[in-house]
């Protein structure tokens, strides 16, 4: 590439795009320290840490957080278990119906989220099922399974079967080989899949909206609380989540670099 384009134009453009990407994040962090008078949090009024301190004593904020965390943890555990099993079946066994299974996994990821939410609502209405915590949980497990399968499958494809065969040669039975050889080897993939599932679940608004009834998750609370302006507490919590994710990823990258291996591959992000 000609030196000017390569050295200045492309990096300059990329830097501008990064600035664009971070713009609302910078605003969020700044306004999480704002001390607004009244409910409009749109101009800078003064620095305070109150927004970080008061959130913990407000049940209207903590209850949705607890709901979201519970849904995220349970749906992650279930979806990761189910998804790992499907990924194992797809990569190490021959069976009929693979094409149909691949479609069943792919279509939920490729359909617009509103369709997943709306069709589930149709199911709840047809069954006469009341909407609430359980229906949210069912929905989250459903949309997480596909992402788990895809993530773990990517790791399993490069898997070296000879290690398992060696285990068998040493008279280990199938179960022992699985837990002593296979599982430890695919564990990084399972962990990455679980992290992705957790991130998708805790941030989901659209699908949850259709299955929620009167139950309020954290994204639903944020949406409801921000009809007019953004309460500074929303930005404080957004900043906290961002910082936690940042530290987590930084540690993962650092560990991955030290390990010189695949462990440092970035976890795809929940951004829908």
């Amino acid at each position: 590439m000609s030196s000017r384009v390569g050295r200045w134009l492309l990096p300059g453009f990329t830097a501008l795009v990064v600035a664009f990407l971070f713009a609302p994040i910078v605003v969020m962090i700044a306004f999480s320290f704002n001390n607004p008078r009244g409910h409009q949090n749109i101009t800078w009024q003064g620095f305070t840490l109150d927004n970080y301190l008061t959130i913990w004593s407000r049940p209207d904020i903590t209850d949705p957080m607890v709901t979201s965390l519970t849904v995220a943890i349970v749906s992650t555990v279930v979806a990761t278990a189910f998804g790992t099993m499907i990924a194992l079946a797809l990569t190490r066994y021959e069976f009929s119906g693979r094409g149909a299974l691949n479609l069943l996994i792919f279509i939920p990821m490729s359909a617009p989220e509103i369709i997943l939410g709306a069709s589930l609502l149709t199911l709840w209405v047809s069954l006469g099922a009341g909407r609430g915590f359980l229906t949210i949980l069912v929905a989250h497990i459903m949309f997480n399974i596909s992402y788990v399968v895809v993530t773990i499958r990517a790791r399993l494809i490069g898997f070296n079967k000879s290690l398992e065969e060696a285990g068998m040669d040493l008279y280990a039975n199938e179960r022992t080989v699985f837990w002593k050889v296979t599982f430890p080897l695919i564990f990084p993939g399972i962990l990455a899949a679980a992290l992705l599932a957790f991130a998708l679940s805790i941030d989901d608004y659209i699908i949850t909206l259709f299955s929620a009834g009167h139950t309020v998750t954290f994204p639903l609370w944020v949406y409801g609380a921000s009809r007019i302006g953004i309460p500074p507490e929303v930005n404080a919590l957004g900043t906290l989540f961002f910082m936690i994710a940042f530290v987590f990823i930084a540690v993962q990258v650092w560990a991955g670099r030290r390990g010189q291996g695949e462990a440092g591959a970035p976890v795809p992000v929940a951004s829908r």
Binding site: A89, P112, L123, S126, I145, Y205, I206, P266
Partner: protein, 285 residues
């Protein structure tokens, strides 16, 4: 090994997850089609009358809405491609040892919740907010100028929120290109622009197609951007907004289901075309 147990193992492994997807994804999809063909009301109950007439009816009533949604989503897709391609190219070709770190920097803003990100854009872009308020104070902009609630504002939100869906597949495709092919083009006296157009760009096309699908599909069904940055202006509403309203506020389930089914059918058509190219194995790998 071998024998019956071995043959059953894959089915036992995939049973719980596949059953979950069947019951809570495939069945609801079918139910939505059935629901669209029913008539009645929430209070009086619905009866299946095979009312196929609902489809021409919603096509007439909401045709413009579909055209607008497709227009917004297409524009946003082209913009994410125009913005994302140079970024992915820079990281893939000039990232060096920092490639992974740069990629993380690009996706890091998306660790913040979709809703919170979009709400903060609404604040930044509001009539008297950081950007336009400042320009108005400086006298560079008509005080009556409004960006929120315009088609451009919704397209802006879609472009921002779906940019990583474009950058990641583009990066994967560009990163895979064998640099020697580009050098070879240079050796054969192709100038850099020609080498890019004849070698690099064609080889990155799988990423362009995947990224465009991954951006267009969620964008066309999105309602959060039109709701927040579009400020609920009915003139910039997208099909998702109407589906949401019909399902959750108006309770006109058949019309909502029909709209939803048209949206999913359109999406599946696009995915089907893509599947023809990559095959079903390619979908999940």
């Amino acid at each position: 090994m071998g024998g019956g147990r071995r043959r059953l193992t894959p089915y036992l492994l995939l049973l719980p997850g596949a059953a979950w997807l069947l019951v809570f994804f495939a069945v609801p999809m079918a139910l939505m089609l059935v629901m669209s063909l029913q008539q009645g009301s929430v209070s009086g109950g619905y009866h299946l009358t095979w009312n196929w007439g609902i489809y021409p009816e919603v096509a007439g009533q909401y045709g413009n809405l579909f055209i607008r949604s497709i227009g917004f989503a297409l524009t946003a897709t082209v913009l994410t491609l125009a913005i994302g391609y140079p970024v992915a190219y820079t990281i893939a070709f000039y990232g060096g040892r920092l490639k992974n770190a740069l990629l993380l920097v690009v996706i890091m803003p998306f660790f913040v919740s979709f809703v919170i990100r979009t709400l903060n854009w609404r604040m930044v872009l509001s009539d008297n907010g950081l950007v336009f308020g400042t320009l108005k104070d400086l006298g560079w902009l008509d005080p009556a100028f409004r960006f929120l609630a315009t088609p451009a504002s919704v397209i802006f939100g879609l472009t921002y929120n779906f940019l990583p869906f474009m950058v990641l597949p583009l990066y994967v495709a560009l990163e895979k290109i064998d640099r020697r092919m580009i050098e070879a083009a240079g050796d054969l006296y192709a100038n850099r622009a020609r080498a890019f157009l004849r070698i690099t760009f064609p080889l990155s096309l799988p990423g362009v197609v995947a990224g465009s699908l991954l951006t267009f599909i969620p964008a066309v069904g999105d309602f959060i951007n039109a709701d927040i940055i579009g400020a609920r202006n009915p003139e910039v509403a997208m099909v998702g907004n109407v589906i949401q309203r019909l399902f959750l506020s108006v309770n006109d389930f058949p019309a909502a289901a029909a709209l939803g089914f048209v949206l999913v059918a359109g999406t599946m058509f696009l995915v089907g075309l893509y599947t023809l190219v990559v095959g079903t194995e390619g979908l999940t790998s």
